[in-house]
């Protein structure tokens, strides 16, 4: 259909606009969403849909999510915003103990599948400890919810709409560094991108590289570097959904290439790469030509001045890839 040039925050606004238009029970709430949000994701929505559908909450993350669960349980569609993923932790109990277990513990009599939580995610250059975190690994450990991370505006709109329509509570992390930087032609009409399906962006024969969110762009660049400098052909995969993740696509790829590199900003220990690594070695043990390598953030709080040294940049990834090739 008709497309429009949109950056990431505009594609989010477009998705929310579509959701509010299609679903009369949908409501959008969170801190500062009424005027448009600190990242402009909700601009214009309150004017268009009214103050009882797009409204601010006080500064209380646990309250926001608990309240959202309540709305969702009654059958209305709740789209809650947590202002930064770093602030999601007061709501951790609500997400893990309440939202994730609702359907299970009521024997499917009740559920809060209509809940979607959105939060800006990942490093941004100057965010430091509390405006840069990537907490997907904490939530990956929680059966009962879905965790989704888009890499671009086109992906974001389709994935967000899928989350909103999905019958399970979903957490949607938005790479804040891409809010203005990433621009694409995005359809104005609603469309869905399926959850739990990874996407192979580039096929290759020698190495599989897996990432999500901003880091997908880094490994794409590394794939080009590897081809040019080493003549190595890389298969690049955007995982897209962290939980439940597409084991089939990743394992099929590693069975073909024999080598796997996973990269994320979040700290190494207990990061989601460890889950992928564990499953892949179980499924593809005899296919592996080299140990699975993870290029991640260090096991420290996210630094302020040391950010450029902390993040798994293309050089670190390239170096790790080289070592794998030469193993």
């Amino acid at each position: 259909g008709e497309t429009q040039k949109m950056n990431l925050f505009q594609s989010i606004t477009s998705a929310l606009d579509n959701a509010l238009a299609k679903d009369p029970t949908a409501v959008v709430f969170g801190e500062d969403v009424a005027f448009g949000g600190v990242f402009r994701c909700t601009v214009g929505l309150r004017d268009k849909y009214g103050k009882d559908r797009v409204f601010n909450t006080p500064l209380c993350e646990q309250g926001i999510v608990g309240f959202g669960i309540g709305i969702a349980v009654t059958g209305a569609t709740a789209i809650a915003e947590i202002q930064f993923a770093d602030y999601i932790f007061p709501a951790f109990d609500q997400i893990v103990n309440e939202a994730a277990k609702y359907r299970y513990r009521s024997g499917d009599l009740f559920n809060c599948g209509n809940l979607t939580i959105r939060a800006p995610w990942g490093c941004v250059g100057h965010g430091a400890l509390y405006h840069s975190q990537s907490p997907e690994a904490f939530f990956a450990h929680c059966p009962g919810i879905k965790v989704v991370i888009p890499r671009s505006p086109l992906q974001a709109k389709g994935l967000l709409l899928s989350c909103i329509e999905d019958k399970n509570p979903c957490i949607f992390f938005e790479p804040k560094i891409l809010y203005r930087a990433a621009v694409e032609q995005v359809p104005i009409e609603p469309y869905n991108i399926p959850l739990s399906q990874a996407e192979v962006l580039q096929t290759g024969s020698d190495v599989t590289m897996v990432a999500w969110g901003t880091q997908v762009h880094v490994i794409k660049e590394v794939a080009t570097m590897a081809q040019e400098k080493l003549g190595v052909s890389c298969e690049v995969i955007d995982l897209r959904t962290i939980l439940p993740w597409d084991t089939e696509t990743v394992c099929k790829s590693v069975a073909k290439t024999g080598r796997l590199l996973i990269s994320h900003e979040a700290p190494l220990t207990g990061g989601f790469a460890s889950e992928i690594s564990s499953t892949v070695q179980e499924e593809c043990f005899l296919n592996l030509e080299a140990p699975i390598t993870r290029v991640c953030g260090y096991d420290t709080p996210f630094p302020h001045i040391f950010e450029p040294f902390y993040i798994p940049d293309k050089w670190k990834c390239y170096d790790a890839l080289r070592k794998m090739i030469n193993y």
């Binding site: 006080p58 500064l59 965010g127 400890l129 001045i305």
Partner: protein, 312 residues
Amino acid sequence: PALEQEVSKAELVEIYRDAVQMRRMEMACDQLYKAKMIRGFCHLAIGQEAVSVGMHHAIKKDDKIITAYRCHPFAALRGGTIKGVIAELLGREAGMSKGKGGSMHIFTPTFFGGNGIVGAQVPLGAGIAFAQQYLGQDNEHATFAMYGDGASNQGQVFEAYNMAKLWNLPCVFVCENNLYGMGTSAARSSSNTKYFQRGDLIPGVQVNAMDVLSVMQAVKYAKEWTTSGKGPLLLEMVTYRYGGHSMSDPGTTYRTREEIQHMRSSNDPITGLKNLLLEWGVVEEAELKKIDKEARAVVEKAVEEAKASPEP
């Protein structure tokens, strides 16, 4: 608290000096941020000097304070230095956290920061007060757990209130109400904007915190209260920030320029103190001008020294 107060002339001059230096320090930070030498986040307390300076002069050096991110004056006054604060914001070795923390993460042995997550510092403050009680210091020392009007709606604040009251902790909760939580006015975020009343059974006092002497009096009273076994107290400091929430906020989209101008011209804590000092004949105007000039020089020197410090 009593409406009569005794302060020595010398102390009044010191208070003025501190207030002016804190104002100058924050203004220097503003400039350095705009010059892109300070990066990241920067929340300035311009307009709120009475709270930090008044509190500092009402308590002992080893009383404990914990607050959120609008913390530069507290860090400098409570065992730090202006150079240390500025160097920290510049990310240099001479900074109080060796340049690794930045604006929100500055500490001294009696000042527990400098905290990024809104409201998280309040239960910590209750814990510090508990330690004082446990170590038998609570007949002489108290902890001041500070937070803002925005943070007052965090659940953990109420959890801290309950624990402090239940265990009779020497904890003074201080709600620094500058009328806006980022861009949200108090009335739009809080069902009860009388923040001093929200401690349930914890008694509360509302303070005009654009007046240093009121702050001093209230804080002195609060400390006496909590260190005489009466348990926690809640102080609401009604103050105002001229700047935005942080350096990325112009501060004009959610309030009128007239309002800001009005506060600056008729409620400024430094001007207010200056007028009192002159009215009471504590010092000559020339002396105050000298202090102003010295403060500017002190801060300029601190900035130069901070800039000269290497990166870690």
